[in-house]
Amino acid sequence: MGLLQELIFGLVTGSYIAIAAIGFTLIYGIVNMINFAYGEYLTLGAFIGFLAANALPGPLPVAVIAAMIGGGITSIILARGFFTPINQTGPVPMLLTSIGLGIALRNAIRLVGGRSARYIETETSTFRFDAIPEIPVGSVDLLGGFFITSEHIIVIASAVIVFAAVHLLLTRTDVGIAMRAMGDDESLARVRGIDTQLIRDSVWVLAGVLAGLAGVLMAIQTNVSADTGYSHILQILSAAILGGAGSPYGAIIGAYVIGLVLAVSTAFLPSSMTGLSSAMAFVILIAVLLVKPSGIAGSEVREA
């Protein structure tokens, strides 16, 4: 396969990682925690979408909306049950709690949903572009013919819509502006009369909606299993940190960097080692934390 094809795949991967990473980074910036259970929110969204697609007669968008609503509700319930009560204990206990919650959720999903992968039936059209020269360099074709499916287009278009919606939310609505203020300086926000708990709850709902969407897009694109979200959590986290933890715009850039690196490393690695491409995301993560811990646009995470 040519590099151009891998880039398409990278763009698709980057798109759903970006949607999830926005939610993840908003939680980091406003609740001040790394939510390691976030991958499970994606899985839940994917399963809700799968069930909705099978149970409801409606078209695919109905399943997508069901996943988003389900994700938002799940997120706020889990936050109220597990994270809000320990908000004051600091980042490490909250991270550990999310790790514990993640293990419990993942296995609960496995218990209910079983181990096998499920597929959401969609009608797919494929658009082929074969007439492009390959320009081989070694074993890799620099261009080459490629195809793009309607699913790819749905994922990328959804991401673009999400970016626009989140941008409008953060810049044009009171809640969004309050979110940004809180991300910058929580005590200052409180002094200004912002109801910080309300904003935190809104962020949980928003993050859950985004997770539900990302999850169901993954499900449409590939499949649903108990590990759907967990297998992406480190990529989401890498994207968020790469973009500067707490910055939604940075997270978008970070996500596409991760997506493209994964795709390109798949192209260049020998086929027996494609499993390594996911490790590449972590290598990038570590490299970023070492070289510029504040990411592309974000705050310092080192201690004095």
Binding site: I34, T89, G100, R110
Partner: protein, 347 residues
């Protein structure tokens, strides 16, 4: 913990003596015709017991890092794994896949400890300044990277099969199964007790005072003239080296290593054991680990009498494990035996 004010440490010395005795008795079984017979219902206890003493070294090292120094290492399994793989690859006679160099096993064990320590030094040199939750992420990511290296580089690490044909020094001299299990438990348990003695001495000494001061307030500790980076690095490397030792011993007991033995579950188990028992208290973390591994034992028995598949049962056990972690942090942040004021969680 005013016991620390008395310098000669009671617990540490008792652990030292008990450790030496255990190893000697274990050696007695191994090297003389002396035999034991275990009731067959006992096997499972001994097997879990062996795993417990190996994980005991992990939890003691982790507690040195987190409980005493405040370093959040959530990739502890990687040091365990690196120690195990280094030992296995150097000492394996011949393996189905991967490297098998057939050197004498003591050399392999030493190499395992050194390899884990070097990785620990590399991680701490690069990341020790990161804020707690980010250090957790870097260590966790390191563990994931190594896991995928082990799986993907079949020619070196044997892929999913791992490294086979690792010598089993105790099995080599004791042919009788019961005696072999007993001797293994005694020798490994003795080594864990020696580890306990060593870390107790370290933390009872002024050395431990510096570590706890770093956990409390690093800047203050620096401003009274302590080079905190040096101490943090040492604490991290010692914890990693102990995990490497545990890994090497595991390889030499198990006779094989494979990625399946070194999943994030290991990290989670020792973390929960430490938090449940009470961080910064060596005996408490071992007790906490015993509780969590006891749960594993119970679930093994329960599995025999309940009509569900082992998959279902594994999921249920992990749900419980995850919720225990959540509950401990929320309702008992200092663990069962930890001191809330010493851990700064009494507000």
């Amino acid at each position: 913990m005013n016991v620390r004010d008395r310098l000669p440490s009671g617990h540490g010395d008792r652990a030292l003596i008990a450790g030496v005795v255990c190893i000697l008795v274990g050696a007695l079984f191994a090297l003389t015709p002396l035999r034991v017979q275990l009731p067959s219902a006992f096997y499972v206890f001994v097997e879990v017991g062996i795993l417990f003493v190996i994980y005991g070294m992990l939890v003691l090292g982790l507690d040195l890092q987190y409980g005493h120094t405040g370093l959040v290492n959530f990739g502890h399994v990687v040091f365990f794994a690196v120690g195990a793989y280094a030992t296995a690859m150097l000492s394996a006679q011949d393996s189905f896949a991967g490297i098998a160099l057939a050197y004498p096993w003591p050399l392999g064990l030493v190499a395992g400890v050194i390899a884990a320590a070097i990785l620990g030094a590399a991680v701490s040199l690069t990341s020790i300044r990161l804020r707690g939750d980010f250090l957790a992420i870097v260590t966790l990511a390191t563990a994931e990277i190594f896991h995928s290296l082990f799986v993907n580089f079949e020619d070196i690490f044997g892929g999913n099969v791992g490294i086979l044909g690792v010598p089993r020094p105790i099995a080599a001299v004791v042919s009788d199964g019961d005696t072999r299990l007993a001797a293994t438990l005694l020798v490994l348990g003795g080594i864990t007790l020696l580890t306990l003695a060593a870390v107790t001495r370290l933390t009872d000494a002024p050395y431990g005072r510096v570590l706890r001061a770093i956990r409390a307030d690093e800047l203050v500790t620096r401003s009274v003239g302590k080079s905190t980076i040096t101490y943090k690095t040492q604490s991290f490397v010692y914890g990693a080296a102990l995990a490497g030792l545990a890994g090497g011993l595991f390889a030499l007991y198990n006779g094989a290593v494979a990625p399946g033995f070194f999943t994030i579950q290991v990290t989670v188990t020792v973390w929960i054991g430490m938090l449940l028992g009470g961080a910064a208290n060596h005996r408490a973390v071992l007790a906490g680990l015993a509780i969590i591994m006891g749960l594993r034992l119970i679930s093994r028995f329960a599995l025999d009498v309940t009509p569900v598949s082992s998959d279902v049962f594994a999921s249920m056990r992990l749900i419980v494990v995850g919720l225990i972690l959540v509950a401990v942090i929320r309702y008992r942040p200092a663990g069962i035996w930890g001191d809330p004021q010493e851990l700064g969680v009494d507000q």
